[in-house]
């Protein structure tokens, strides 16, 4: 089984399959379906310093091969998480990664300090609006990505993963800024901005008007961005966005992901992460790879300009 283990910037995962923030609660719900220790890691629901009620419902809209959500970071706060939820998760042999979100850089830093080394890693959700800077998300300019990463990294006792937003002109530039700021790893993609309208009521379907798109529909965008990011930086990458089956997971790893994360697919098939894990193992065997790490970026691209993505020996 060691051939399935990966190291994500210092976080050791026994296998490369994680579950995505916001789609897996704090693990309790899915623990009724299978033993959470089977997973490589669990990224918990996005945490804020104080509890948040989130946005008004409706918060979900179905779209072609996808869904929009506007949960708005409903969560019980970092303190509650540490006291009431983390001990439960610690009962399992699985890496626990805290996804954190703040209104200001200071809030992010306080959360990182508070979490200390209670978790195995911290994932920085930089798609949230920066209230101090007038509401633009932290994740959309290189400068602010660099700044927030550097500042939070200083406070981090555990590896820091920066989660990139796909709603940007140049994902390479953002990936580089996160790396320069000290990110130990990247994860991508977060949801794509989108909207759905009910033509009968002539209102947006979501009470928040707009929401974040996830699910199979976004997969090609996500694979493309993981590929670009993997060419830009040499730190580990957790790939996600529309992964529903093991074939999808392999696509991401060939594009340059070291590990994959399953989000929306959990809603449709609670066993999706396990089935994906099993499929990856079978693919390795069938294709005579001795180790999962041989998959990363093992892609023969066209045009011969594939310096970063050669097969590793």
């Amino acid at each position: 089984m060691t051939r399935m283990s990966v190291n994500i910037g210092g976080i050791k995962l026994k296998n490369p399959v994680l579950t995505s923030s916001g789609t897996f609660g704090f693990g309790r719900e899915y623990s009724g379906f299978y033993d959470l220790s089977k997973l490589g890691g669990i990224v918990v629901k996005g945490l804020t310093l104080e509890p948040r009620e989130g946005n008004k419902p409706p918060r979900i809209a179905e779209t072609p091969a996808g869904m929009l959500n506007s949960v708005g970071l409903q969560n019980p706060g970092v303190e509650y998480f540490i006291e009431k939820e983390l001990p439960f998760l610690r009962g399992y042999d699985v890496a626990v990664i805290a996804n954190i979100a703040g209104n200001t850089v200071e809030e992010y830093c306080m959360m990182a300090r508070r979490l200390g080394s209670l978790v195995d890693g911290i994932e920085l959700n930089i798609s949230c609006p920066n209230v101090k800077e007038g509401g633009a998300a932290f994740g959309i300019s290189s400068e602010s990505v660099y700044n927030i990463t550097r500042r939070v990294k200083e406070q981090c006792k555990v590896p820091l993963i920066v989660k990139l937003s796909p709603n940007v002109t140049d994902i390479k530039e953002i990936a580089e800024s996160a790396k320069e700021g000290g990110a130990d790893a990247l994860s991508l993609i977060n949801t794509l901005r989108g909207m759905a309208i009910d033509i009968n009521s002539r209102r947006p379907v979501l009470a928040n008007n707009v929401g974040g798109l996830s699910g199979p529909a976004v997969k090609p965008v996500a694979v493309g961005m993981v590929w670009q990011a993997a060419q830009a930086v040499d730190i580990p990458i957790i790939g996600m966005g529309g992964i529903s089956c093991w074939e999808d997971a392999i696509e991401f790893m060939l594009a340059g992901a070291d590990a994959v994360s399953v989000g929306t697919a959990n809603f449709i098939n609670p066993y999706a992460p396990l089935e994906i894990l099993e499929g990856i193992e079978k693919y390795l065997i069938k294709n005579q790879f001795s180790n999962i790490n041989e998959l990363k970026g093992n892609l023969k691209i066209y045009g011969g300009d594939n310096k970063c993505l050669q097969k590793k020996e």
Partner: protein, 251 residues
């Protein structure tokens, strides 16, 4: 739990209203009135998400659950095409069911497709009346009439029972110990008012759009009062049944 269940019946009860019976002995063992199933209507990504449908009847002896659904969109349309003998992917039973009252007289108040989820409840209650409001076509009247002491019916077009809304035909609400209601938001609001005015205990089953159906995604938020404050609770696991006085229908 998740099961691939055999469909033992799928037929139209009246225009656009269908009943599907599925074999799921393990689910039957746990199922309570007021709970729901979360259905993947086909194997395709179109539609992508599961669809929540309430349990209408639980046949403990045969291990069969009946659901009644209205064809309103893509997912329920797909369901109508499923045939006896085919299989359907089911998560369930989900949610908190109705809190059964042991003593005294109860009533179920249902509107439209919200009538179906009350049937198993009516069968489980010892002394129960039913107030049912349809637009025009009725369904399941026989079963309600054998499960209930009294059956009151309203239709919007007056084709069966009284003409008008179901809330108009509730004459003396104070004779009931508990009211259980399921139906459109407007109806639930009115029932809640009636009960609040008269101090009758009332439970309502609410509908919110769902993702996971099991409490992990937080999309099914329902605004629930707790003392002086309120919280967004999950319709899928904290509900879909709530005490009427807690629910903020104006969110």
């Amino acid at each position: 739990m998740q099961c691939i269940c055999k469909i033992v019946e799928n037929r139209e009860l009246c225009k656009d209203v269908f009943e599907m019976k599925i074999e799921c002995p393990e689910m039957v063992r746990e199922a309570q009135p007021g709970q729901f199933l979360h259905l993947k209507v086909n194997k395709s990504i179109d539609p992508l998400l599961r669809r929540p449908i309430s349990i209408s009847r639980i046949y403990r002896d045969t291990g069969v659950i009946s659901i009644v659904y209205q064809c309103v969109g893509k997912g329920t349309k797909e369901m109508t095409a499923l045939k006896k003998g085919e299989y359907i992917d089911v998560l369930g039973p989900l949610g908190s069911g109705f809190t059964l009252s042991d003593e005294g007289k109860c009533a179920v108040v249902g509107g439209g497709i919200g009538i179906a989820p009350l049937l198993e409840l009516a069968c489980s209650l010892k002394d129960c009346d039913a107030y049912l409001g349809f637009r025009c076509n009725t369904y399941k009247l026989d079963e309600f009439s054998s499960a209930c002491k009294e059956l009151y019916i309203a239709t919007e077009d007056g084709s069966t029972g009284s003409k008008g809304y179901v809330t108009d035909i509730i004459k003396d609400i104070t004779k009931y110990n508990v009211i259980y209601a399921c139906g459109p938001k407007g109806m639930l609001k009115r029932v809640k008012e009636l009960c609040e005015d008269t101090g009758v205990k009332c439970f309502v089953s609410v509908e919110e759009r769902m993702g996971c159906g099991i409490g992990a995604c937080l999309v099914c938020a329902c605004r629930i009062k707790e003392g002086d404050t309120w919280h967004y609770k999950k319709a899928c696991t904290d509900g879909p049944v709530f005490a009427a006085e807690e629910v903020d229908f104006d969110d």
